[in-house]
Symmetry: C2
Subunit: 126 residues, 2 copies
């Protein structure tokens, strides 16, 4: 890929979208979605980011309520106790958020670099 120009550092740009009401989407929920997709479970996803199941679940609930169609579909019981997976809507939201991150990081690289260069301790390019 073209992230050769952005071997950057530990410098990170995190963005959060605030919608009119209380709804918002940020790095936390995006990561959670991603891990749910990867693990197939809310509990497992939470574990990988050392987040309590309760918190993970409540974030999922928030998202499912905020969007017209739920982003996460979950089932209880069964062979492995149950599980969860991203819906079509969930995949769409996640991928768009990720792409948004990518776009902004690229578009703003120069300005970010400038600000970063003015710091007292320039964090060494890791």
């Amino acid at each position: 890929m073209t992230d050769d120009a952005i071997h950057d550092t530990e410098t990170r740009l995190r963005l959060r979208i605030y919608f009119g009401d209380g709804a918002m989407l940020g790095p936390g929920k995006a990561d959670l979605l991603e891990r749910i997709r990867d693990t197939g479970s809310i509990a497992a996803a939470g574990r990988t980011m050392s987040m309590s199941y309760k918190r993970a679940w409540s974030l999922v609930e928030e998202m499912n309520k905020a969007f017209r169609e739920p982003l996460v579909d979950s089932t209880r019981g069964g062979a492995k106790g149950g599980g969860a997976h991203l819906t079509e809507a969930g995949e769409t939201v996640l991928s768009n958020y990720r792409k948004l991150e990518e776009i902004t990081a690229e578009a703003g690289a120069a300005r970010i670099g400038l600000i970063r260069s003015m710091l007292r301790d320039i964090p060494e390019g890791k």
Copy 2:
């Protein structure tokens, strides 16, 4: 200006830059810088955003310590009790942050709009 295509809504994209160490720059500090520039005083700036002087000052201190050159220069006593103003570095950081916001909002408008359109209650375009 060209913000005709972005009469958007109350939907807002807020971004925060995390640097390697604890230093970070986000909407709060940017707003504070802007108001200090406009009012010529840390206290007045804080007042306009209903932020305690203490907090405003500690944010300023944080920034001044994080950057090689202080972003805010302040003086005590005198005719009007004192005051504060942005240094050259302060102006630079602020304007670059604002421009960064502008760029990202523009570059990501389509994706943001898509996600927003999937919300249950589409916040009416204000």
